[in-house]
Each structure stands twice: as structure tokens, then as C-alpha cells.
Amino acid sequence: MISKQSTGISRREFLQWTGIGAATLAVAACAPAAPGAAVGGGAAAPAQGKIVLRMQVDPKQEQPVVDLYKQSHPDVDFDFVSVSGTDHEDIAAKILTLVASGQALDLGYAATEATQLYAGQKLSAPIDEYVKRDAADLKEYFTDVHPSLIQAMMFEGSLYQLPIDFNAANMYFNTAVLKEAGMETPKTDWTKDDFYNVAKAATKKDASGKTETYGYAWTNRLWGSWMPWIFVNGSNLLTEAEAPGGEWLWTDFYAGDKAAEGRGGGYRWLAPQANAAANVEALDFMVQLYKEGITPSIELGGGQTLQGFFTAGKLAMTPAGGFWAGGLANAGMPDGSFDVQLFPKWVNQRHQFGTAGQWLFDQGKNKDAAWDYMKFRISKDAMMINGMFNPVTLTTPTRRSMLTEERFAETGPANWQVFYSTLDDHPDTAPIPAPPVSNAMTQLFVNYTSRAMNEELAPQAALDGLQKELEDLYARNPDMYKKAN
């Protein structure tokens, strides 16, 4: 009786007030903060007067560059943010989540897969004004870098990144497997039929018909994958167009360079064409190779598994870029045990590539300092000591002058010139299609690819399904190329 009448604060009142308080806190905590509001929020407190740049990098690879930079910039400190993922879209998802949660960056690192994704979300900043301002410093860089790599870093007329590394999908060979099959590394102008003959000859089966050594393998992703076959069959997953703008760039830095002629303000992939006849034909070819036991079942991811089987002599050929040379050397493959060649010709020999570089966070508070580091990072001195290229070449440098015999002397491949001649000899070589909705697009692409490859759907049906879903995706994002509309 006593307690019921006299308790001044009832359970209901208490819970009500606690609830109101907690809800207020929750809403405050979950409220969408402006991404820029938290720039540097996660960084350690800087020493007096110092700038701290928060940078998405591989700390081990970046440290030598940072050390060199700090010699001339003692007022700048760095906070490394290491982000790993199964593939580029996974990393992009994590970066987007990171920024969405208020942990902004000053400098990010993105490959083609995410260039337009970040630019389209206005997460990355155009660097046109910085480039124009520091044109004299950058002249040497642009002279050393193929224009197609620069064009791939543009979005709607503006430049967003300065590419540091790139990889075109060439063809790697395990020379021992080829030799055992009585074959040699093909010549530059080999064709799709030559490829088929090599793949078939290199495939070894046991008495029961089970494949022991595969002629060809690929991983299910956007870059590499079966996309190179789409390209050499004269097609693409999406329609290609050129954004207006960017004339200043080509005039100022590439005047007289024939490879730069006709380039504009970056790629626009305005509509899906997944079920184009050439694409169906390319996928049909992949399914045929699988059915014949030339290709194993298709995996997702970055190709680490395939690298293991390649080094173990269980695989003859796979599409890869310069990044494989370092990986194979690190895995113990001696120089001469593997080689590389251009992708075979089908309708044409147009290659696909992906390129990567740093990007500036659009709402960063230290944009000027970040740009200064970004500019330093693409200098020859910095690139030469970058862990990506030193001591082992783990990916292809965008600077033509860095692709030398000396660089590949210890690791191979013998035909290393292919990496850059892909661009020089085939200037129509283009980036993988990666519009601002590239993450969602990639998911659909790998989804329907796996359906076709496990024979759940025929290639035509799979690509019809992909086309339909890509059309829905584009319909939900009508403004991704605003200036195009």
C-alpha cells in the first residue's frame, strides 16, 4: 500500500523519460552528418601547426613515399586508412560506408571501377584548377603517361585522378605447360582460333575424362573475366559515348600527340547493351570452353586461387595484367616460366584496361595540402620508390619510362613490352565500363555470368535477364550523367 501511493517517480514515467532521452540521442547519433563535417575526425591529434592528411593507402607500400615527402614537408603528418576487400566494388562499398559514417578522408585511392562512382556521388573533387595552376610541374608527367589512361580518369569534362598504375587484360602463359603441349608463346597477331587451339592442346585429361590441367581460366568479376572477349568481339556491355569538355587538357599537355586526338571529357556509358549479339557470342564461347573441360568452374574474386594453380602448372592461360608478373615472382615462379602476350584478335584486338590513382575528397578541409601530396606522389622520384613498383613490380606503372628491361630482368616476363604496347599499338583500348552505378552493375554482371556458366541459363537468356535488370538500374538512376540529359 505504501509504495503504490508514495513512489514519486513511476515506472512508466521513468521509462518515458529514458525513452525520450535515448531517442533524442539515437536520432542525434544517426542523423546524416555532412560528410565534410568530420574531416580528420579519426586522425590523431596533430602537433601544433601541423596538417594531418587522412589517406586511404596500403601503409607498407606508401611509407617510403611518405618518408620522402616529409623530408621537404615536415609540417605534414599522415593518418593511414587501410581498406581491404574481395574486389574493387567491395572496397568502394567500404569507402562509401566509411564516409557515410562521418569518417571522411583527405585522399582516397580508386581504380576505374570506382572513379565515376565517387565522382558521380560528388565524393571526389575535380582537380582541373589545380592541374591548370601547376601545369609546369605536371608537363613531364603527362608526357610520360598515355592519354587513354588520363581520359579514363575524367568524368563529365573534368579530371578527377592522376593515374599511377594500370592493367590491361593481356594473356599470361605458363610456358612449361605450353611446352609440354608442344606449343610456343603465340605471336602478337594471334587470333581467337589460335587461342582455342592452344587452350585445347594444353588441356590434359585423365583416363576418365577428368581435366587435370586446364587450358584457360578466368575469374568472375568486371575487369578481366570474360569482358576482354566482349571487347575483342567489337562490343561492350554498355554503349560508349564521349562527354564534352576537357579540351584544355588535351591542348595543354598532349598537343601533337596522335593518340590524344578526338578525346573529350571522359567516358559516358549511357545505356546497357548486354544482350547484343556479339556479347551473346562471346559468352557462348566461354560456356563452350567450360563444357569441353578446357575451363574450370568460374570463381568470384581477384584471382588468387587461379594464381596458385597457374604456379602449380595446372593452368596454361589466363587474362591478367602487369600485376600478375610480381605476384607470380613472389609466388616462386622463376623468370622464363611464364610469359605474356596481347589478347587474341577476334573481330578486332581492342583491349580493356583499368587504371588507378588518388582522388581528393570533395569536402576535405586540407584540399590544398592533399593536392600537393597527390602531385608529389605521381612524380618519378616518388613512383620509383612506391611499394607498388619497388622492389618488385606488383602492378604496371602508368609512366612509360618506368617500363624498362631492368625492371623485369629478375621477374620476367620476357615479353614485358606488351604492357605498354597494348596502349601504344592499340590506342582504341578503353577502360572497363564503370558508370556511376558501377557497383550495382558489377553485381548484376557477375550474377548473370555465373548463371550462364553453371548452365542455369543459356547465354542468350542470361544476357536478356542482365539487360532487363540493367535497364531497371538505369531507370532508377536517370541523372547519373546530368549534363547528358
Partner: protein, 320 residues
């Protein structure tokens, strides 16, 4: 009477110490202090639940009514996300996939967990009992992501260790991760391996709690084997069974790491679970509103299923 006296003789509170209601040296004051102390002890938990569970749930519900990509201001679109959800065959399929996964994974988790507990609680040398208990529980301590990576290597159709050893026994290569049915089976088995140790420990706790008098009485009455298990053991551990089933279903409906890493939801969408679709919508495609819609639907389903389980439990569970 004491309360009447204290309330009728007290001067108006506003004219005195504002904390009088809690500091007054009366029975009522003592009661209030006691109540407040209780609430103070409860408040961290209540606040934690409100901020980290209820708050996000409410916020998700609000977000589900918006189109929002984080970088631009949210746009109110009413129930459009829900309309999209009910026409999104991939999202609907993912819920069905989660349901199928739960049916197989949780059933096996309960059956295998119970069997292991019964075997381990049977007559056995103590060191052996501890060894088995530890061995079966150990996978529970492993990181799901690390396990998924290793298993995806082991289960590779052409190059995996599992098919290699099966091949030595004459078994043709099994497409563990590359055919829809096998891929689901692989995920279920992997989940079972990771989670059965916990269920086993729960059942061991339940079995240990059965009164020896009841078991002795069953012995005297001649109840043996399956009869004893069905009529004595199972009813006695039914509260544990209900708990294991409820937590198992909740955990199963939220499965993410294994299918995300082992199959990426494939082949096709065959192992794409509801949480995967939610993650992909919200964090890969930056459709936070639509991702929230999927979360809300999943929340309602989990709430309903759990309520249903408790409803069934009321009729079937035996409390001593």
C-alpha cells in the same frame, strides 16, 4: 495509515527542497530511493537497448520512407520503397533463401547439438568428455569470415582438398560452390559446423539440470532408450530447446558472412540471403532507404516468427 499521514501532513513540495520527494526521511522517501536505485542500475542497459537497438530500429523505419544515398539530402517518397520491395523478385527470393536456410540449418543445429550433448553426457571417461566438448565447441570461437575463406578454397570443385580426397575414394567432383543446390548445402554444413558447439553446450546445460530423482524414477518404471528420451529427457530440456530454437532462427535469418564470402550469394541468387540484399542495397548501391526497407521487413518477420515460437512454446514447453 503511515502513508496517509505522510502525504496529508507534508507541506507543498514546491515550497521546499526540490529533491524533497527523494530525500525525505519517511517510509515513502525510502521507497522512492529504493525505486530510484533500482532504475539507476537498470538505466545503462535500458539506455543501451534504446540507443543501440530501439533507436536504429526506429531510425530504419523512418529511413525506409525516404530515398537517400547519404551524400544528398533525403527525399521523402512515402511507401515507394515498400512497393518496390514487393515487386523486387531478387529481394523476395532472398527472403525465401533465408527461410530455406533457416529450416535446414536450425533443424540440423538442434538435432546434431542434441545428439552430441547426449553422447557427451553418456558414460565416458572424464578427460575424453572434456576433449570432445572442447573439440565440438572450438569452431564457435573461429571467425566466420576466416572460416569462409578457408572453406571456399577447400570446396573448390576442381582444385579443392575435399574433392581431391573424395576423388581418391572414386567420388566424382562435386560442385560444392558452383551449383545452386550444392552451394546451399555447403553453406548449411559450414554454418552447422560453426554453430553446433554452442547448441551442444546449451543442451548439456539442460541435460545436467534434469533431476536425478526423475531419471531414477524413470529407470524404476522401466523407461529405457527412445521411450525415456521422448517422455522424460525431451520434455525436461524443452525450455532449452525453445531457447536454442529461438536464438537459432534469429541467428539463421541474419546469416551473412558465410554466403557473402563463400559464394557471393551465387551461383545466380541461390545463396543470396535477406541480409546480403539489405547490405548490397544500402552499402554497395548506397540506397540507404531501400536497404532500410528490407531491414524493416526482416525485423517484422523475425518479430513474428519469434512471437510464434513463444506461442507454440507456451503449449509445448514443460517448466519444472
Amino acid at each position: 495509515m503511515a502513508s496517509v499521514a505522510s502525504t496529508t501532513t507534508a507541506a507543498p513540495r514546491s515550497s521546499r527542497n526540490p529533491f524533497h520527494w527523494i530525500t525525505e526521511n519517511t517510509l515513502a522517501g525510502m521507497e522512492r530511493r529504493k525505486a530510484l536505485l533500482g532504475y539507476l542500475f537498470l538505466s545503462p542497459t535500458i539506455l543501451g537497448i534504446l540507443v543501440f537497438t530501439a533507436g536504429p530500429v526506429i531510425f530504419s523505419l523512418v529511413l525506409s520512407l525516404f530515398r537517400w544515398n547519404v551524400f544528398s539530402p533525403p527525399e521523402f517518397i512515402g511507401l515507394a520503397n515498400f512497393d518496390r520491395f514487393f515487386h523486387d523478385s531478387r529481394a523476395l527470393m532472398s527472403f525465401w533463401t533465408s527461410f530455406v536456410f533457416v529450416v535446414f540449418a536450425v533443424s540440423l543445429q538442434l538435432v546434431v547439438g542434441m545428439l552430441l550433448a547426449l553422447v557427451i553426457q553418456s558414460r565416458m571417461v572424464t578427460w575424453m568428455r572434456y576433449t570432445y566438448r572442447t573439440a565440438f565447441f572450438l569452431p564457435m570461437l573461429m571467425s566466420g569470415a576466416a572460416t569462409a575463406i578457408v572453406l571456399s578454397y577447400m570446396l573448390h570443385k576442381e582444385f579443392g582438398a575435399v574433392n581431391y580426397y573424395l576423388g581418391l575414394l572414386g567420388v566424382p567432383p562435386i560442385p560444392w560452390l558452383s551449383q545452386p543446390g550444392w552451394a546451399m548445402a555447403s553453406i548449411v554444413i559450414s554454418y552447422l559446423w560453426l554453430s553446433m558447439g554452442f547448441t551442444m553446450i546449451l543442451f548439456i546445460g539442460g541435460l545436467t539440470g534434469i533431476s536425478t530423482e526423475v531419471l531414477d524414477a524413470a529407470d524404476v518404471d522401466g523407461a529405457q532408450g527412445l521411450t525415456r528420451f521422448w517422455n522424460i529427457t525431451l520434455p525436461m530440456v524443452s525450455p532449452t530447446l525453445l531457447f536454442a530454437a529461438v536464438t537459432g532462427v534469429i541467428g539463421g535469418l541474419q546469416v551473412f558472412d558465410l554466403p557473402y564470402i563463400m559464394t557471393y550469394g551465387g551461383p545466380g541468387d541461390s545463396t543470396r540471403t535477406a541480409v546480403m540484399v539489405m547490405y548490397e542495397a544500402a552499402f554497395k548501391n548506397m540506397e540507404i532507404g531501400y536497404g532500410s526497407t528490407i531491414a524493416v521487413v526482416l525485423f517484422v518477420i523475425i518479430l513474428g516468427v519469434t512471437a510464434g515460437q513463444f506461442g507454440v512454446g507456451k503449449r509445448l514447453v514443460f517448466y519444472q
